[in-house]
């Protein structure tokens, strides 16, 4: 019983925390959604333990706890991959911006030179 309360508290506080972060604009919905999704699943599982029990049995896990650990690990793999994608996207945009800054500076210098020449 105690473990269920713990599970509920953990997933529910993650859920509340993420919602609070979105509310304060510390996190945008795009990045928050995966966390909200997984924390809601955690809350549902802790309120209705039959669900994880059933699923773990169907999937052939010896113990429901093994299934929980497996799901958590899967979630982290997914989230970190998602983070890498976002990081890569930011990196590319950053590079594009650096290139543009360099090109604009050159253009500006060329323009200034032409103005002076007049």
């Amino acid at each position: 019983m105690g473990i269920r309360v713990l599970e509920f508290l953990l997933s529910f506080s993650v859920f509340l925390f993420v919602v609070e972060l979105v509310r304060r604009e510390k996190l945008t919905f795009k990045y928050a959604f995966a966390w909200i999704f997984f924390s809601v699943i955690g809350v549902v599982f802790s309120l209705f333990p039959v669900i994880p029990y059933k699923i773990s049995k169907v999937l052939g896990f010896e113990l429901p706890s093994n299934f929980i650990f497996f799901s958590l690990l899967g979630m982290f793999v997914f989230l970190s991959l998602l983070l890498t994608v976002f990081l890569c996207q930011q990196n590319r945009r950053n590079d594009r911006m650096a290139q543009k800054i360099g090109l604009l500076e050159e253009e500006m210098r060329a323009l200034q030179e032409r103005m002076k020449g007049r």
Partner: protein, 240 residues
């Protein structure tokens, strides 16, 4: 009037070499315009290049060779150049070979022309044994995957026409750009050729790509090239 030619010269902390490279380009009879891409150098590379008479694009931080070269292609596209030539800022590429290098592109026989130090007799700087072993491996790999036998796949001494300028301005490989760019160009059915050139050993400073002999590097480049073969041609942009 001949074609408008831009020389893209990526440079990172090359204050000691850059002025001579720029002057050599300016001394060529084709009226080639040197554009130095200062890839976030911490020395006087930009100032030296500017004083030598080059146009200079100074990147706010280091992007690596791929990002720097791509900046040059973007410049070439925006300023409507007919041909873009890549020359390393460290002085290993001899501008005396520029006319040989651009000839196939000027004549419309190739979309990309690569200066190879291994064609036409072994002269000049041939690089170390370990590096040559790596180069041999990439020759085989690129021929197997694209059907093009590049004797010098890591050569950064190359010329491109408008079609490839437009392509590379939108998409240029960033990790191991020299061999990857050949693969991308060939996948998009560009005509690639090689011309014999003689290269020098770099004059000052340290090479940023001295890792060709490490197996780790080889594995990474091989993986990157194989992944290119899996990509949809559309990822290379509207010009593909």
């Amino acid at each position: 009037m001949g074609p408008r030619i831009l020389a893209i010269i990526p440079a990172y902390n090359e204050a000691g070499n850059i002025a001579r490279t720029v002057c050599e380009v300016l001394a060529q009879p084709q009226g080639i315009i040197p554009l130095v891409i200062d890839d976030g150098s911490r020395d006087q590379t930009s100032q030296e290049a500017f004083r030598a008479g080059a146009r200079v694009v100074q990147l706010p931080f280091n992007l690596g060779i791929g990002g720097a070269v791509q900046t040059g292609y973007r410049y070439a596209l925006e300023n409507n150049f007919d041909i873009a030539v890549q020359i390393d800022g460290d002085g290993q590429h001899d501008s005396a070979y520029l006319s040989v290098l651009i000839q196939p592109v000027v004549d419309g026989e190739a979309d990309m022309s690569i200066g190879s130090r291994f064609l036409g007799g072994k002269a000049g700087f041939q690089s170390s044994f370990g590096r040559r072993l790596g180069i041999g491996f990439f020759r085989g790999l690129i021929r197997f995957l694209t059907g093009f036998y590049a004797t010098d796949p890591t050569s950064g001494f190359r010329a491109c026409n408008r079609r490839l300028i437009a392509l590379f301005a939108g998409y240029y490989p960033s990790d191991f750009p020299e061999p990857e760019a050949i693969v991308v160009a060939r996948r998009l059915r560009a005509r690639v050729c090689e011309v014999p050139v003689i290269m020098r050993e770099r004059r000052e400073g340290k090479s940023s790509i001295g890792k060709l002999k490490s197996p780790y590097y080889m594995i990474k480049v091989t993986a990157a090239i194989f992944l290119h073969m899996l990509k949809d041609r559309k990822v290379y942009g509207p010009w593909a």
